[in-house]
Amino acid sequence: MKEKVVEIKQMFNEEIKSIDNIKDLNELRVKYLGKKGEIQKLSPLIKDLSNDEKKDFGKSLNETKKEVSKKIEDLLEKLESKELEKRLLDEKIDTSLPSTKLPLGFVHPLTKVRREIEEIFVSMGYDVVEGPEVEFDLYNFEKLNLPKNHPARDAQDTFYVNDEVLLRTQTSPVQVRTMEKSEGEIRIISPGKTYRRDDDDPTHSHQFMQIEGLVIGKNISLAHLKGTLEEFAKKIFGKDVKVRFRPSYFPFTEPSIEVDISCFKCKGKGCSFCSNTGFIEILGSGMVHPNVLKMSGYDPEVYKGFAFGLGIERVAMLKYGISDIRDFYTNDLRFLNQFNRKGGLEDEA
């Protein structure tokens, strides 16, 4: 009887060698371990055996069953993993094929720069205020110490709607509007569109954006203006940037200051970008003229203030190396698409 068991075992061992798929393996399982399987078939024979033999046979039959079962399980595992591998391989795709891109929208470069500047000043405690673009001559000029027929009006050729109404040539009228509504200290910036009757060319645009800054307090000095602009310049152009003050003239400030920053390309050594001067002109500013304070209800003997006006296009052109101001207003998507980045990662030095 024992021989039968050995025979079956040998037969099984022989047969399993040629099995290479799960289906055949399952058939093999049925053949040997099924209810009518080869091993099961032997168990009725047990009743003809002596007690001693019974025990012996039973044991070897059980061991064989276990052995067969284990071999089948082992192979099953192997075959399963092989089949999975094959299935996955069949599912292989070419990852180099083009992706399906949802359109990526983004804000205009002028909005990008405007927001950056706004955030710098808001974090320093400035409120953002806005004023109308269709403005009165009174606010755009007269209350800024530029009476009718003042020669300095020549520098700002103006679009008039009628004798008293115009498209604002600067964001400075917001200074007047804010002072008229306020008492005491003021810290504001005012961004917006402005207009001058200039022919459009690479460096001139009949429409452009400015950000006005105004600070009024009891002990405000030019040193505060410099400190504030240094802080601003570092945040927008990099921490090594230095600020230079040059005396200038604006009717609404006294003293008036033209502000240059050290060239951030060459670190002030002089390069083609800064026309070898080491400096780049960035904005006009000064201490608010006592006449302007007076006309807006502030006593110049008590309050002083500084103001500045910054061109947003100018900053964007410097920052991104844009050579033609008209590019901002053409809305050529090939141009705009270059500004589809957020600012989370720092730029390379």
Binding site: V107, N149, I220, L222, H224, P255
Partner: protein, 787 residues
């Protein structure tokens, strides 16, 4: 203002100072310059004398010249018509480089060797507009005093640098060499030397021939002297060169002297031919006179803002701007009446605006030192006597109401320190005022005496600026003002604009920024009364736009014609219009065209259409917190929209905008747009986010389809479904539309039922479904599709 370094050097000694250093120091005290140029930059030039000159055998035009240049005698071929024996000329020798990188080499011209070139002033680099025709057409004829071998640039006073200043509007005083000298004197602390104003007088008196009456206070000073028997000829070379360096074309000695004195002093002069005048000089406003023929031979209307110089019968000059043709100095003029006057700035400005902006008028507009008027008159007499053999008549016609004493302005040391934020000492402040040639009394509480030439200084802040700019801002240490610590704020409008920009860019649209000024007539509507520019630059920038869609459509066409076919853009902007005065609102608009999403390999393609655009609009409104508050109503739309593929957008029953396809007559391609009035949304309030628990109980899905007439909108059926299912309806969507041939369609809905407190039974759901069917069939001409 073009500043000739040599000219300046006549009034302040700067011979040891580099011109670039000078320019930079001027920049540091607030005088910006555009360029520094040499008047004539060529080297290896020499004065030559033409010893012989004969015609070239093979050419009518060329001459073969033998030219003595002291060290050698050169054979030079010259094509100028005026070359001749005995002439002193400018020779560019071999190796010379003329402007335009023109290198002079030995060459053979028609068989004859030429060893250089005889030059015209044009060839030396002098601007054409500053030369006489003879100096453009032919070689320059040097005067006899030029010696062969000499440097012609030096002889011609062309060894000069020109700094072209871009002066600020307040510094009229710097529109003169003397003013510049004072400014430079404040920088270097050197003395200003005033020019010679001495002359002899003959016994004839100006008052024998002329009288003066000033009838208007717009003429604050009128001074005149008579100079007889002038000899009109060329100016001496230094005068011509300095005029050229200053950008003024030399004419003759008399005209040149008037310009020369204006450049020196900043006081424009006018020379009348005295023999062409009636005896009574009358200064008056333009009221009584109709017109004047100015020296450019143009008849100009006179108005009541014009100050006129007349001889009582006819106007002889538009004061400060231009003289009359009849009384102009000509080559036959013998006797000159010199006018040195001051007129009201604003009147000169108004007159010059309508006639001509000139060197003279721009000086009058900015104001002139009251103390220089008489000085300039005398200086002109001096020069006319010296360079035009003029005889100066005794006496002067004079009307002078100008304040001439120094202005006294008080400023304290602490005023200066507090405004500048600088620890400057009293001694340093005094040093600045002294360098500026201002007298100072009461040190500490300064009483500063400011000469009248500094018209720009009127108040103490002006003095503080002087201290700042001359002392220099280099050492000013920046510090932040001390304020209550707070974070700044944005306006409500600003925040909403920011949200709109962010939401739309997240939905895949790119922001555009367009011009406010637009064409008056275009295909897109203006909704309000227009604001029109009175002085537009062009027809296409004449009116304030009221419609962002028009701008975006232009952007679309621009991109499309350049091969960019998929254009998804938006803009947020104020628009301006008339409404009991001037009003504005904030609009947001978008444009979607071409393919929104595609992958050809994967056969994915989502084209721009009405429903995508509607989805963008809905997502936009949802993200502002307006979900369930908007509806789309078909009604008559502006005619730039497709009448049957567009709709109006309402929020809370308020019309806020439009959405739809651009009318096919405007665009062959299908282009979709929307426009929303953000100002109207600004007035709405939305509920804050309140989080609710997600229901733990399962939901039941039911589908239902109705057959209705094609004209019935899906939204109409939806309304009834919502009414019945009410709180049990968790979601509702159309998932299929089928159009039958008989003009009806099937609309299939998917509904999700649920309850937050229990699991709904199937019975309950079926019951609900039946109620819905009843309601729809009862109220709309609809049939359940399965029936």
């Amino acid at each position: 203002m073009k500043l000739s370094r040599n000219f300046l050097n006549d009034y302040i000694d700067l011979s040891d100072i580099d011109v670039y250093e000078l320019a930079d120091k001027m920049l540091n005290v607030g005088n910006e310059y555009e360029s520094i140029k040499r008047l004539a930059s060529s080297k290896n030039l020499v004065v030559g004398e033409v010893l012989e000159c004969k015609k070239h055998e093979q050419s009518d035009k060329l001459s073969i010249c033998t030219v003595d240049v002291k060290d050698e005698v050169l054979t030079i071929i010259c094509g100028a018509p005026n070359v001749r024996k005995g002439l002193k000329v400018v020779v560019a020798k071999e190796g010379a480089v003329l402007p335009g990188d023109f290198k002079i080499k030995k060459t053979k011209i028609l068989g004859v060797e030429s060893n250089g070139m005889i030059c015209s002033l044009l060839e030396l680099g002098i601007d054409k507009s500053l030369l006489k025709q003879s100096d453009i057409d032919g070689i320059h004829e040097l005067e006899d005093s030029a010696a062969a071998g000499e440097d012609p640039n030096e002889y011609l006073h062309f060894d000069d640098y020109i700094i072209d200043f871009d002066l600020t509007a307040d510094r009229g005083d710097l529109m003169s060499i003397i003013g510049m000298a004072y400014e430079v004197s404040a920088i270097y602390g050197r003395k200003v030397n005033m020019p010679d104003i001495s002359f002899n007088e003959i016994n004839d008196k100006v008052s024998d021939k002329f009288s003066l009456k000033v009838e208007t206070n717009k003429c604050m000073a009128y001074l005149a002297k008579l100079v007889s028997d002038v000899e009109i000829k060329d100016s001496p070379q230094f005068i011509k060169s300095r005029l050229i360096a200053s950008g003024i074309r030399p004419i003759n000695n008399v005209v040149d002297i008037s310009n020369y004195v204006m450049l020196e002093t900043g006081q424009p002069l006018h020379f009348f031919d005295a023999d062409k005048l009636n005896s009574k000089i009358l200064i008056t406003m333009g009221d009584d006179f109709k017109s004047i023929t100015t020296l450019d031979d143009v008849v100009r209307d006179v108005d009541s803002n014009d100050v006129l110089v007349t001889d009582s019968k006819t106007p002889i000059a538009l004061a400060g701007v231009m003289g009359s043709l009849d009384t102009e100095v000509s080559n036959n003029t013998k006797n000159i009446l010199i006018e040195a006057a001051q007129f009201n700035k604003t009147n000169v400005r108004l007159t010059s605006k309508k006639v001509l902006r000139s060197e003279a008028s721009s000086r009058f507009e900015k104001g002139i030192d009251p103390n220089i008027t008489l000085f300039a008159l005398k200086r002109a007499c001096h020069l006319l006597e010296k360079y035009a053999s003029g005889k100066v008549n005794k006496g002067i016609l004079i009307h002078d109401e100008l304040e001439k004493d120094d202005k006294v302005i008080k400023v304290t040391l602490s005023d200066i320190q507090e405004t500048l934020g600088m620890n400057i000492t009293s001694k340093e402040v005094v040093a600045v005022f002294e360098r500026l040639n201002f007298k100072v009394k009461n040190k500490g509480h300064f009483e500063v005496h400011v000469p009248r030439r500094r018209l720009d200084i009127e108040i103490k802040e002006d003095l503080i600026e002087e201290v700042g700019r001359i002392h220099g801002y280099d050492n000013l240490e920046g510090k932040l003002p001390v304020f209550e610590v707070k974070r700044g704020s944005y306006t409500k409008t600003g925040k909403l604009i920011r949200d709109a920009q962010d939401v739309l860019s997240n939905l895949g649209l790119v922001e555009a920024v367009n011009y406010t000024l637009a064409r008056d007539l275009n295909e897109f509507s203006y909704y309000h009364d227009k604001i029109t520019i009175a002085n537009p630059m062009s027809e296409d920038k004449k009116v304030c736009r009221q419609n962002l869609v028009a701008s975006l459509f232009e952007n679309y066409k621009y991109n499309f014609s350049r091969g960019v076919k998929n254009v998804n853009i938006f803009e947020v902007s104020d628009v301006y219009y008339k409404n009991n005065g001037y009003d504005s609102k904030v609009l947001v608009a978008g444009l979607i065209s071409g393919t929104y999403l595609s992958n050809e390999v994967q056969q994915i393609s989502l084209k721009a259409d009405f429903y995508l655009t509607k989805g963008i609009v809905e997502n936009f409104l949802n993200s502002l917190g307006l979900a369930d508050r908007y509806e789309f109503i078909d009604e008559e739309l502006p005619n730039n929209y497709h009448p049957h593929r567009s709709t109006s957008i309402y929020v809370n029953k308020i019309h806020i905008g439009y959405l739809g396809q651009v009318h096919p007559l405007l665009s062959k391609e299908e282009v979709f747009v929307f426009e929303i009035d953000l100002s109207k949304l600004m007035e709405l309030k939305v509920r804050g986010i309140k989080c609710r628990d997600i229901s733990k109980y399962p939901t039941i899905n039911k589908d239902v389809a109705f057959v209705v007439d094609n004209s019935i909108k899906a939204s109409k059926i939806e309304k009834h479904i919502r009414k019945v299912a009410n709180k049990y309806l968790k979601s509702l969507s159309v998932f299929d539309i089928y159009n039958f041939d008989d003009g009806t369609k099937s609309v299939a809905f998917n509904m999700v039922f649920g309850d937050k407190n229990q699991t709904l039974s199937d019975e309950f759901a079926n019951d609900l479904l039946n109620k819905i069917i009843d309601e729809v069939e009862k109220n709309i001409d609809a049939k359940l599709r399965d029936k």
